[in-house]
Each structure stands twice: as C-alpha cells, then as structure tokens.
Amino acid sequence: MHSLLLSADWGLIIEKMVLVAIIIGVSLFVAMYETYAERKVAAFIQDRHGPNRAGPFGIFQPLADGLKLFSKEEIVPNHSNKFLFVLGPGLAMLTAMMTSAVVPWGGHIHAFGRDISLQIADVNIGILYIFGVVSMGVYGVMIGGWASNNKFSLLAAIRGASQIISYELAMGLSLIALLMMTGTLSMHEIVQQQMDGRYYVLYQPLGFLIFLVCAFAECNRTPFDLSEAESELNFGYHQEYSSMKLGFYLFAEYVNMFISSAVMATIFWGGYDIPFVNDSSFGLNHGANLLAILQVLCFFAKIGIFVFFFMWVRWTVPRFRYDQLMKLGWKTLIPLAILNMLVTGFLILLRQNHWHF
C-alpha cells in the first residue's frame, strides 16, 4: 500500500487535478458566456441590440441569470418522483461535463520542469468514450421528462430519447469512415495526424456533414430541438423545473454545444493545429509554451466558429417534425453514412494496393 502511494506520480495527479479544475471551470465559463453570446447573436441577426443593461454591453447578464436562478424557489411538483426529479438535471450536467476529459485542448506546456499535456486523459479509445458518455446524456432528458409527471414533458422526453438514439447511430457510422483513415480512436493521435494542415474534413466532407447534422440533433438545437420546442411542447422536458435545476438543464445544453464543437474541431478540423503554420517548426523557433498558448487559442477560435454556427442555424431554420426527423435520420443520414463508409473503404483498399489517383 505504502509503496503504491509512493510510487504514484504525485506530480501527474496534481497536474491532472489542476487541469480538470481548469477545464471544468473553463467549460462552465464558456457555457455561461455562450448563453450571452446566443442572446447577442440572436439579437444581431434579428436587428436588435440584445441584452445591454447589465454591465457594459450586458456582459454581466449571465451572472445575473445565474444568481437569479440560485435565489429562486425550488419547486418539486406534488406528484413527481422526487429522487428522479432531482437526478435528471444532475445527470444532464454530469454527462455534459464528463465529455471534456478526452479532448486535447492543446499541445504540451513546459512548466515546473514537467512536460504537461493539455489533455486530461489521452485514452486510446477517446472517441468511444465520448460516444459512451454522450449517450448517457439522453437519460437526463428522459428522467427529467418522466419525473415531471407532465404530459408535455413526457412527450418531450420520448421525442428526445428517440431522436438522440437514432442520431447517434448515424453519427457513429459517419465516424467509422474517418476512423478507417486514422486507424486510431485516440483524439490526440487524430489531431497529430492532421498537424500538417491536411484536415480530415477535406477527405471526409460527407462524413463531416453527417456528423455536423447529428451534432445538432444530439445537442437538441434547432432544427432538431423537438424535445423543447417551445411552440409545441412549451419547453418540453424541463417545463416543470424551476431555479437552478432549470439552470442545469439550460447549462447542460450549452456545455454540450461547446463540447460537440470541440469534438468536431478536433476530429475534422485539426484540433489545436494552427492553420497555415507549421506547428513544430514554430515551436522550435518560439518556444513550446508560446506555441501551446497559441494552439489553445486557435482551438478555441475553431470552437467559437462552430458555436457561432450552431447559433446562426438556430436563428435561421424552422424545426423538423417528429416523423420527418426520424425519416431524415434513418432513411437519409444512415444510408449516406454507410455509403460514405463503403466508398472510403474502397478507396483505402485501392490505395493500399498502390493505385494512384
């Protein structure tokens, strides 16, 4: 026991703890400001000003919202299952936060004499992990919707569950083609493979498109926001929630959006690679730390673009209907993903057999 404790790399543990704290903090912060950004983006798209009273340009708006939600009364409806009612939002938040563990946020930093990797866990099944965790997110919706004991919530929960489950399939299939090319499930590896600027989106445009659409569905964003369609189901599964439990649901949505943007940026858009710059030679010339910082910034810029894209779409397109959504998922996206897979496999085979084209 003693030897185990001693032999443990305490530096690594502390390093990881700090990293976890930072990343959770950052994702929460980002999610918070995503709400602000969403309101501002919506406002600008819609020829309005958006929130601008709380602080300069309204930048304290998310803080005000958060504090208000904290200070609101908690209502647990009479006929609901109390335990599940509380579990729902917790689960939603938890799964949203967990995904960030395998995303490589940048290269390495040299500090305290250590080479610190900016990734919490470089597991070699990173993508599988993400899929595993994300598919748990649906429980947040389902449990919340069911526990509310409200027909609208229940309908929303059913819609949400079936939608997420169906789109996960297409999402997975669209990635398989990519994985055939990468040959690895590790996020870190995938980024490394793209370091020379040849992003996988160039090889897998269709795969990316399918993934993008599925990401929208997974995050419950318009045009796939059926489970909270306010004009039909009146906010759906979180209709009965008040105060911070509601806050958790809303937050989870934004964290999800952030994380899926991160995943998309990582596997299709080169992750933290700085475009048009040869990262390794830049690192040699200017020092690894500067490189790492620039990489992180670059990564966040990519994420930011995706997040903006999410919002932009949200405020442009109408929503699907339930059956059309299913049709799109099962009859269009999945066949397309399989086709993509086949074509990719075929081309890879040809290449392995030294065909040049």
Binding site: R48, V313, T316
Partner: protein, 179 residues
C-alpha cells in the same frame, strides 16, 4: 369547384426541385440572409434614453386647456364624459363666484375633473367632443404605477401650466417640434 370570378390566380405551388430536396442550398441562402442582417443598422430605439417623436395627433394623456390669460376653459358641460366609451371621466360643475374671473373663463367651471387613466382607452373621443377647446390629448404617455389610486388624474395633473405664472413649465409643456 368552378371559378366564381375571372380574377383568380393560382399561387405558385411548384413541387420541390432536386436542389431544394437537398435542404442545404436553400438553408445556405437563408443563412446568407440572416448573416447579412448582422451588419445592418439596427432600428432599435433604446427607450428610456432615446424616445421616438410621436405624431402631432398622438393620443396620450389628456390635458385641460387654459386660455391665453391662464383661465380654465372647461365649463363642465359633460360632453366628454358622455362621449367616453370607457366611462372614465367624472366631473363636478360649479358656478363661478365673483372675483374668480381670472381663474375660469365661463360662468360655470369644473370644480372637479377626474379621468381614470386605467379605464381610459385613449380613443380621443373626448377631445373631439369638447365644444369649448378645453380638453386635448397630449404626446405624453401615462407612466405606469404601483397602485390604482395614482391613476385617477385630477385637475392638478391635467391642467396645463399657467402660461403667465409658470412660463417655464408652460414652455416645457409646449415643447418645440423637431427638438
């Protein structure tokens, strides 16, 4: 169903073309439109700081008029109260006493003139009904308030400032158009 007139024109309800079936082109176009709006000038009026100028015939809170010498014009004939569809106007008439000629224009005047602003629908019929050039609507909005009592506007609130005794307030009330 046969046509009833010769003016019918069937709206274009074309089936979807292949490109439209692909979702993306049209959505991309729509997204272009929305993106363009980000850079458009915003029409927003930041209300408490900026205010829109209302039209000269705007129907805001009523005022009771005075003549040039500052005498009240209302003679409490009650036409405005009759014309009010919301029954928001109440008045009480009184005879002018000797020595009050500089207060009231005619022999009869409204000792009490109240408009319940919560009932009022700002239809402007009172202004139209007044035969004595006494009640007008203004370009001011009734401010919201916390209790019902404060919405019963009496003569104190309604009378315009005395043009001779309170020239500043009078000038403020007149306001200059375009300023």
């Amino acid at each position: 169903m046969q046509a009833l007139t010769s003016r019918a024109k069937v709206v274009g309800r074309k089936p979807m073309t292949f490109l439209e079936k692909l979702y993306i082109p049209v959505i991309a176009k729509a997204m272009g439109i929305t993106f363009g709006h980000i850079f458009k000038k915003k029409p927003t009026v930041s209300y408490p700081e900026q205010r829109r100028t209302f039209s000269p015939v705007f129907r805001g809170v009523q005022v009771l008029n005075r003549d040039e010498e500052g005498r009240e014009r209302c003679t409490a004939c009650g036409l405005c109260a009759v014309a009010c569809p919301a029954e928001a106007i109440t008045m009480e008439a009184a005879e002018r006493l000797p020595g009050e000629e500089d207060l009231y224009k005619e022999e009869k005047y409204a000792a009490r003139y109240e408009i319940n602003m919560l009932r009022c629908i700002f239809c402007g019929l009172c202004e139209e009904a007044c035969p004595k050039d006494a009640v007008y609507l203004s370009e001011t909005l009734v401010p919201s308030n916390f209790n019902r009592e404060s919405f019963v506007y009496g003569k104190k609130e309604l009378l315009i400032p005395h043009p001779l005794k309170e020239p500043e307030a009078y000038a403020r009330a007149r306001g200059e158009r375009g300023s």
